[in-house]
């Protein structure tokens, strides 16, 4: 069996203490949440942190709640399984519950956290496209205080994000969805469970009073170095109707906006082709969820 390289380990009880420890250790420290990603990469020797700061003893970071001002605040330690089961999520943001159901397997979802999925900043992260189309932001706290970073600007490259050293994600916040809107996430793997997305597409559509598209958002996993928006397709959809040909044309445009890579999981051409298939299916499903909601 592969053995982990030695590392130090801390379990702070407060956020402030956690930040202090991270500052003290410097760049070789890593925050640990569910560990479903970090421990795997440590075993593979891809990362070799000198110190793990386990956040799970900090109270209150796993709450899913609706702040007075509206929207939803999801504590960083909320597990994917909790999102899948939450009545609040199911009612207001069913797309998040749907995306949660794709991630790994039941046992992985029981451990994996939303903060870990965002914090890892993998272009394949399954929760991110839906959060992006819902206009979510990251709440981060560090030595110099607290700030809000829109997810649209959070990701900087594979595994890279806008967090400053020793900054910790404390929550993901999502604004209220517009009244006449729907969203959906579809993704493709090589098998039905325990698989990383070959391509994932989330779509949200908001309609105006006349039934044409007031706003469209499309976000894609595994299509580039960061979770991508298909801005051209979004612009094309805005102001128009929901006819099938328009959705198909938007999907074609979305595929053209991607820059997938060829790797051992799939070749770039297949991925690009699948963006088109999935973008159409996501848009069509978003229309359906909107119809159901009304």
């Amino acid at each position: 069996m592969k053995r982990l390289k030695p590392f130090a380990y801390r379990e702070p009880k407060t956020l402030r203490e956690a930040i202090r420890i991270l500052v003290g250790e410097g760049p070789r420290a890593a925050t640990l949440a569910g560990g479903t990603d970090l421990l795997v990469r440590m075993k593979q020797g891809v990362v070799t942190p000198s110190l793990l700061v386990n956040l799970k003893r900090i109270k209150g970071l796993d709450r899913i709640q609706r702040p007075k001002a509206g929207g939803l605040s999801i504590g960083t330690l909320s597990t994917i399984a909790a999102l899948e089961r939450s009545a609040l999520v199911a009612k207001r943001y069913p797309v998040l519950a749907q995306a949660a159901g794709f991630l790994g397997s039941p046992s992985i979802r029981q451990l994996a956290t939303l903060g870990g999925n965002v914090g890892r900043s993998s272009p394949a992260a399954d929760m991110v496209p839906s959060l992006v189309v819902l206009k979510a932001s990251v709440i981060a706290e560090g030595a110099s205080g607290k700030r809000e970073i829109p997810l649209d600007t959070f990701f900087k490259g594979p595994g890279q994000n806008a967090l400053a050293p020793a900054e910790i994600i404390t929550a993901i916040v999502v604004p209220d969805a517009a009244p006449s809107s729907g969203a959906a996430y579809v993704r493709l793997g090589r098998r039905e469970g325990m698989d990383c997305a070959l391509v994932g597409v989330a779509a949200s559509l908001t309609l105006d009073g006349a039934g044409s598209v007031a706003e469209a958002r499309l976000a894609m996993a595994s299509c580039g170095p960061v979770p991508l928006r298909a801005r051209g397709a979004e612009a094309f959809l805005s102001g128009g109707g929901l006819a099938e040909e328009r959705l198909r044309e938007a999907a074609r445009l979305a595929a053209g906006e991607t820059s997938p890579i060829s790797d051992m999981r799939a070749c770039a051409d297949y991925r690009r082709e699948m963006v088109e298939v999935l973008a159409y299916r996501a848009l069509a499903a978003a229309v359906q969820t909107d119809r159901k909601a009304r």
């Binding site: 090589r190 098998r191 999981r265 799939a266 297949y270």
Partner: protein
């Protein structure tokens, strides 16, 4: 009417396994045990110019660092071509270059990482066709000198590890008589066995007598003992192999793998035992694989579908060392004609070394590979001639008393029934669900035959202890399929006791008698026969003792479930009472049983034909599949598989059903998902995240159908079920895909990308 045969007796090892008490090789803990780690080659083909182990030796807690210079032995059950540890040359990425034994596994790994190697790269070859080229780099220049059985002919100066041919009739005449001749090439890929328990072994050397004790979950303890003894120049009675439970093998644990490394290390630890457990990464890149193969077959056929001739040219991808390849590919080659009557036959089969992970035995032993080609081509012939695929098979397939290619008259041939019942269960010929959006439905069917290695021997000992309790000593390994339970049922039936009271300990080559191996679907038949013979003797002696104690003629006595009855009188006593009176001061009765079909009339072949091709029994299986293809994504979802298996006689229906279900799962997985991604021989996807196995979520409805063509020599008519189960799944799925979308994939695995590419060429 039997009491215990045909009943789903709960597995004897069930309780032990679900409560975590069962000891697998990874669980073996011994006093003073050391832990091993190895340094593996990072080069596909290179000379070792310099090997500096001083860095490893200086790590505190390291007890031994061993290289091929220290332990200059080679092994190989068929061809002795493989060093325990590389000498001055590596032939694949992953080959062991040096091994370390230390107080902990972490120390051993740390030390192994400090060994420095300087390589001088040699030209490498990764494809067996390229390896056949005149100017290909040669892996084994010294091939001619390797000790090997005369059965395995090689071509020195090339990469041809073995070459075998077979002819019968005259294919040229056959092709001339045919209305159509089809020439097609198929490819089947390498896959991993992926047992839950990775390869593991523990070895201890006795400095006093020079012997070794090895703990292993290998499927053939006596053969491993023989291979080790031969490799090290020791008598067999100095090499003791103890079997643990096995966490799955599927053929991958049928040679010396982890065993070789721990044996080499144990020679240098002053008697301290050494344990090695493969990491999953090692399991997927440095254990063994299924042989990949290019299978070219040319078949001549009459307009009405009658097969008249077939020639085949098979090229198998050996990887770096022979392992069981010579026999796997021979058995495979001789099955390329399928379960069909074809008068004119010809095959050339070449096993070719390449600079890749070693290929070995894999469930089906070569038959899985050839079934892919044979059955895919049968479908293509049916389509070209406009004949129904089931009808084409029924027209040509073996029936009772047909002769195999060497002239052996085949008995217990339940093939037709497997075809009919699988077809009926899948709804063959009835309307399918209509296309819906991008989804298309299709059905496919494929069949296979598999023999068993013949002749091979199995022995056992049955003991009735002083209280009448029964122990069965067998070297058949409980590899997970329920071997021990099935043998206990046969013993129970024969003796007249309850199978759940029989003790079947794991084997020990110093204490349990010889048997060839838990391979080739042979245990129920061969060991079952040995058990039946020993059981009959034990029963006779028990009744004699009972006659003596009860003062009556033993001929009037019978026993069921340990209760002894007298004819015309009724129940007289229990075995326990009788034995406690017979053995007041202790004692036991011991009987030996053995079975080997050598010399059986049933094996007789035509004069001049290879007798070795006769099989003690023949197994037949048909799988029918229904799939749904998404034409936009290329994704195939298997909806249902009906799997009909002629197993002779079902000993334990539940275990048999599990064998069939398990192999359908394995078949779906390796047809649609599993694949090694290689870069110059290096496995890129050496984790279970990237080496895709089917999960529960991917599984269809599986209907296991058991056909019982009772075998005249089988114990209670039983044959076997382990291997053929996996072979027909791939061609059945491929046929169903063709039925759904008109696209024929001839190279495995069938990936969404291949389907999309094919659809673009020929839109449906």
């Amino acid at each position: 009417m039997e009491t215990w045969i045909g009943r789903s007796v709960p597995r004897l090892d069930g309780r032990e396994k679900v409560t975590g008490q069962a000891v697998y090789t990874v669980d073996v803990e011994l006093p003073n045990m050391l832990h091993a780690a190895v340094l593996r080659s990072t080069r596909p083909h290179a000379r070792i110019v310099d090997l500096d182990v001083s860095g490893a030796q200086s790590v505190p807690g390291v007890k031994a660092v061993v290289t091929g210079r220290d332990f200059p032995y080679t092994h190989g059950g068929m061809i002795k071509d493989q060093p325990f540890i590389a000498f001055d040359r590596v032939r694949y990425v992953g080959e062991v270059v040096a091994a370390v034994a230390a107080e902990t596994e972490a120390i051993a790994q740390e030390a192994a990482a400090r060994i420095r190697v300087r390589y001088e790269d040699l030209a490498a070859v990764f494809d067996p066709k390229e390896a056949l080229a005149a100017d290909a780099p040669i892996l084994h220049e010294g091939m001619a000198d390797y000790p090997h059985s005369p059965l395995y002919e090689n071509i020195p100066g090339t990469n041809v590890c073995t070459i075998r041919t077979f002819t019968k009739g005259d294919v040229q005449t056959g092709f001339a008589e045919a209305d159509a001749v089809y020439d097609d090439e198929f490819y089947i890929h390498a896959v991993a066995h992926t047992p839950m328990e990775t390869h593991a072994a523990v070895a201890q050397h006795s400095p006093a007598d020079g012997g070794y004790t090895v703990w292993s979950s290998s499927d053939g303890p006596h053969r491993r003992s023989k291979e080790l003894a031969e490799a090290l120049g020791l008598p067999v009675n100095k090499v003791r192999v103890l079997s643990t439970y096995s966490g799955g093998g599927f053929g991958g644990k049928g040679t010396l793998v982890a065993e070789a490394t721990v044996v080499a290390l144990a020679a240098f630890t002053g008697g301290r035992p050494v344990k090695m457990i493969f990491s999953r990464e090692e399991e997927l890149s440095a254990a063994q694989t299924r042989h990949a193969a290019y299978l070219r077959i040319k078949t001549g056929v009459k307009k009405d579908g009658t097969l008249v001739a077939r020639s085949a040219d098979l090229i198998w991808d050996k990887g770096a060392y022979a392992s069981k390849g010579p026999d796997v590919t021979y058995r495979g080659a001789m099955t390329i004609f399928g379960p069909y009557r074809i008068p004119n036959l010809e095959v050339r089969s070449r096993l070719v070394y390449t600079n890749k992970q070693i290929a070995g035995a894999y469930r089906g032993y070569g038959v899985t590979q050839v079934t892919w080609a044979c059955e895919a081509q049968m479908d293509m012939i049916a389509q070209r001639l406009g004949i129904d695929p089931v009808a084409l098979r029924l027209k040509n397939c073996y029936v009772e008393n047909d002769t195999f290619i060497n002239g052996q008259v085949m008995k217990a041939v339940g093939l037709t029934e497997t075809l009919q019942r699988a077809a009926r269960e899948i709804g063959w010929g009835t309307p399918k669900a209509a296309a819906s959006g991008p989804l298309r439905r299709g059905r496919g069917i494929a069949t296979t035959l598999k023999g068993t290695a013949t002749p091979t021997e199995s022995q056992c000992v049955i003991i009735a202890a002083m209280d009448g309790s029964v122990t069965l000593l067998t070297s058949a390994v409980e590899v997970g399929a329920g071997q021990h339970t099935a043998l206990a049922q046969i013993a129970a039936e024969t003796i007249g006791v309850d199978p759940t009271t029989i003790n079947v300990p794991n084997s020990d080559t110093f204490n349990t008698p010889y048997q060839f191996g838990t391979t080739s679907s042979r245990v129920t038949f061969h060991d079952g026969n040995a058990v039946r013979r020993a059981g009959e003797r034990i029963r006779k002696r028990i009744l004699e003792i009972a006659g003596e104690i009860l003062q009556t003629d033993p001929g009037r006595l019978s026993m069921v479930n340990g209760r002894i009855s007298e004819e015309g009188v009724g129940e007289r006593a229990g075995i326990k009472e009788v034995f406690s009176q017979k053995f007041p001061r202790g004692g036991m009765i011991v009987e030996h049983g053995s079975y080997c079909p050598a010399g059986s009339e049933l094996l007789k072949a035509d004069p001049g034909m290879p007798q070795g091709l006769s099989s003690a029994f023949w197994m037949f299986a048909t799988h029918a599949a229904e799939v749904e293809v998404d034409v936009e994504t290329g994704i195939v979802k298997v909806l249902k598989v009906a799997a009909a298996h002629d197993v002779g006689r079902v000993v334990n229906p539940q275990l048999c059903e599990q064998q069939i279900e398990g192999s359908v799962v394995m078949g779906i997985s390796n047809t649609l998902m599993e694949e090694f991604k290689l870069d110059r021989g290096r496995v890129l996807n050496n984790t279970l995240a990237d080496y895709k196995l089917a999960t529960m979520m991917d599984l269809p409805e599986i209907v296991a159908i058991m056909v019982e063509a009772g075998h005249p020599e089988g114990p209670y008519g039983a044959k076997g079920a382990g291997e053929p189960a996996v072979a027909p799944t791939a061609p059945a799925i491929a046929g169903a895909i063709f039925d759904a979308i008109g696209v024929r994939i001839t190279d495995l695995p069938i990936t969404p990308e291949k389907i999309r590419a094919a659809l673009k060429k020929a839109p449906c």
